[in-house]
């Protein structure tokens, strides 16, 4: 699959984030078991697997969003650049500025397009002047391939955009805080094919600046956009490796069954 793009799959082998023996419990439910993954720098990593397999749960461990769920408990070790992100000295709020997140459903704030993008830089004090903020907003919108569509109506409400535009606005919003890793939880599941294609193209461009982790139900999407793929099943990480290998020559029979549509 996609053999022509194999050249593009050359990636740095430097791990940006690494997870070892991660366990997640929701109350008494053991949702994620013994997950070991290295997220490589400037790489798109796709998490695939059937619903309820734990891939979104694991994604939410990477920026400690599970902290906001009262019943969730995380064990094991997740490091970012060699520092444990679950260390008590780490402020989850600071962490989330470095590990941005885009959600399944576009969730623009009920503010103007400009204020949506400026939200992160403002709360983190990333800019010193209005001009600087304007610049951050513009570059973020450009990176999200939305600038040309909205540059004349930056003061219009973000909720008035179309679904695909809203999702790109959410990406711009996440990009504006200058993340080192961007987590995307099924970012295209609420979008039509054209908007999906735009977002996928965007993901490929964003890879030049930071790592992207994407959870997806579409195996074609995983094959199209990612260089690394992890397959989750029933809370276990079944297989993790180079995307081409996973899709063409998986070593685990469960991976093969899932990819060929026999389990899911």
């Amino acid at each position: 699959m996609n053999d022509m793009r194999l050249t593009e799959r050359a990636v740095t082998e430097k791990a940006k984030m690494s997870a070892r023996k991660v366990q997640v419990y929701y109350g008494s439910n053991h949702a994620l078991k013994d997950v070991d993954v290295d997220i490589l720098d400037k790489t798109v990593t796709a998490f695939i697997g059937p619903s309820g397999c734990g891939k979104s749960t694991f994604l939410r461990c990477l920026n400690r969003m599970n902290d906001t769920v009262a019943s969730a408990r995380v064990e094991g070790k997740i490091e970012m650049d060699g520092h444990d992100i679950y260390d008590t000295r780490v402020d989850p709020v600071q962490l989330r500025a470095k590990v941005g997140m885009v959600f399944q459903k576009p969730n623009p704030f009920p503010k103007s397009i400009y204020d949506n993008v400026a939200y992160g830089p403002k709360i983190h004090g990333l800019t010193r002047s209005k001009a600087e903020l304007d610049e951050v907003v513009e570059t973020s919108l450009r990176k999200a391939a939305l600038w040309n569509e909205v540059k004349d109506r930056l003061n219009a409400p973000g909720t008035g955009l179309s679904g695909g535009q809203q999702q790109r606005l959410c990406i711009a919003r996440a990009v504006a805080t200058g993340p080192e890793v961007l987590l995307m939880d099924e970012p295209c599941s609420a979008l039509d094919p054209i908007a999906t294609a735009q977002v996928e193209e965007l993901i490929d461009e964003l890879r030049s600046q930071f790592s992207v982790v994407i959870v997806t139900h579409s195996m074609q999407q995983a094959a199209r956009v990612s260089q690394r793929t992890a397959f989750f099943h029933l809370g276990y990480l079944v297989e993790y490796g180079e995307t081409g290998t996973i899709f063409t020559n998986p070593s685990d029979p469960r991976t093969e069954s899932y990819i060929t549509g026999r389990i899911g």
Partner: protein, 485 residues
């Protein structure tokens, strides 16, 4: 036949109709209910409804119309000279009714028809007999009035009989009509459901018609008031001094000012406290705290406002006077705008907090996640995302609280005093529109004087005010609610 007995008969007939309709339906398909359009009980219900509903409606209409018709015929029997000085036709008519009731008592005590006829011909004896039976009359009975009473009695009795006959006939007709319609194809379920729909429409029209009735009565009496008191003085005069001897000044401004001032202070207390309580409860409180604190806060809403009034009178008023207004030299009275305003604010806290809490909870979790995902703290999220998203609803909640504050009476009577004044000093006693409505209408006063009728004009003004606020609140809530749906 009495109305009670008639109702029982009609209900019995309806029950019979239910049984029969059901049975006929089952029989028509030889016991296999699957061949019917609707379930058997719908056939039964359709017969029962056709039996009872038209008959009961007839009884209802008859009971309303009959007295009117009888009054108009009997009134004709009373000649102008029968109406004494200082009396009116209405007073004579009420005598007629009273005597007729008295005769009913005599009949119940065993008087025969001949005896009654003799008594009617002899008013003096009639009065004596009525007195013996416990129906005392002040004046002697005029012969015309006596005959009118007898005629009245006769017509009432005849009307009753006719009503019973008509209602029963209608019930039987409905019964037969519906029973004959029972066939397997008959859409009994649809018929029953349309009856229910009419019932629902009826219930909602009762509410709407009552509102219209209230407005009309206010408008009507206010119109009377403006006939005898110039509207210009009412709306533009700055003094309120009703004198029951006449020559009063009935300017609405001092009252309106008091109302707005007290409400303003009330909202000044209720809005920040209520809002912050709502934010704590919906965003920060753990489920356990919330499950205790929310009902506890809502208990405040269940306290009758007179109890708040007592609290204002006994506790808050003296406290404010002793520790604030007297030391600061701002006033000597324990009744003040401040007292009433603060206590009213306490009363309004649960309204603001409960409504706002619901509105804040309705803000989608996705927005909060989006904000957390960008590295915002909980407080930044509340301040910059949740609160702005909930703001339209919160404004609506505040306006609802405002219209309650404007209509509040008891707290103001006991807390703010009764002096109509235009003053900026919040430690002075003032009064509000509602309080003056009460005081103008209580006591022995002539009902046609401007001093009394002004109450209706005040009521109408207040109504227009709160209606405007409520419409504004609904408009705001509706206009901005679409944003995140």
């Amino acid at each position: 036949m009495s109305v009670g007995l008639l109702s029982l008969l009609l209900l019995g007939l309806a029950a019979l109709g239910f049984g029969l309709g059901r049975q006929r339906a089952i029989a028509s398909v030889n016991g296999d209910a699957r061949g019917l359009h609707s379930l058997p009980q719908y056939y039964g219900s359709s017969v029962a409804l056709f039996t009872a509903v038209p008959a009961f409606l007839l009884v209802l209409v008859w009971l309303i119309v009959q007295p009117v018709v009888i009054e108009s015929t009997i009134t004709g029997m009373i000649l102008p000279e029968d109406i004494g000085d200082g009396s009116t036709r209405e007073l004579v008519m009420s005598d007629v009714r009273r005597i007729a009731e008295g005769i009913d008592v005599l009949v119940a005590n065993g008087a025969t028809g001949d005896e009654i006829a003799a008594l009617v011909a002899d008013p003096v004896a009639l009065k004596a007999r009525l007195g013996d039976a416990g129906v005392a009359l002040a004046a002697d009975i005029n012969p015309h009035v006596a005959t009118a009473s007898a005629a009245y009695r006769g017509e009432v009795a005849m009307g009753r009989t006719m009503m019973s006959v008509a209602a029963l006939a209608l019930a039987v007709a409905g019964f037969l009509f519906a029973a004959l319609r029972v066939t397997p194809q008959f859409r009994a379920r649809n018929v029953v459901e349309s009856f229910i729909r009419v019932l629902l429409i009826g219930a909602s029209s009762v509410a709407i018609l009552t509102t219209i009735g209230i407005i009309l009565s206010l408008v009507f009496e206010s119109w009377h008031f403006f006939q005898i008191y110039p509207a210009k003085d009412f709306f533009f005069s700055l003094t309120w001094s009703p004198k029951f001897g006449g020559g009063s000044d009935l300017g609405i401004w001092p009252l309106l000012w008091g109302t707005l001032y007290v409400s303003f202070i009330g909202l000044l207390v209720a809005v920040p406290v209520g809002l912050m309580a709502a934010i704590y409860l919906s965003e920060y409180a753990s489920p356990r705290v919330r499950s205790v604190a929310k009902p506890a806060l809502e208990i405040l809403a269940g306290i009758p406002s007179i109890v708040y009034g007592l609290f204002a009178l006994m506790t808050v008023g003296p406290f404010l006077r002793d520790y604030f207004s007297q030391p600061l030299g701002l006033g000597e009275s324990s009744s003040s705008v401040m007292t009433a305003g603060i206590v009213m604010g306490i009363m309004l806290i649960p309204y603001v907090s409960s409504l706002s809490d619901d509105i804040i909870n309705a803000v989608p979790q996705a927005l909060r996640d989006g904000s957390y995902g960008l590295g915002a703290t909980q407080s930044e999220t509340v301040k910059q995302v949740v609160f702005p998203a909930a703001l339209p609803g919160i404004v609506g909640a505040v306006l609802m609280a405002a219209s309650r504050a404007i209509g509040e009476t008891m707290i103001v009577v006991l807390g703010a005093g009764a002096a109509a004044k235009l003053s900026l000093n919040p430690f002075e006693a003032m009064t509000t529109v509602t309080v003056k409505i009460v005081s103008q209408l209580t006591g022995d006063t002539e009902f046609a004087s401007p001093e009394t009728l002004v109450a209706f004009a005040l009521g109408l003004t207040l109504f227009v005010f709160t209606l405007g606020l409520n419409i504004l609140a609904l408009y705001i809530v509706r206009k901005y609610r679409e944003q995140y749906e």
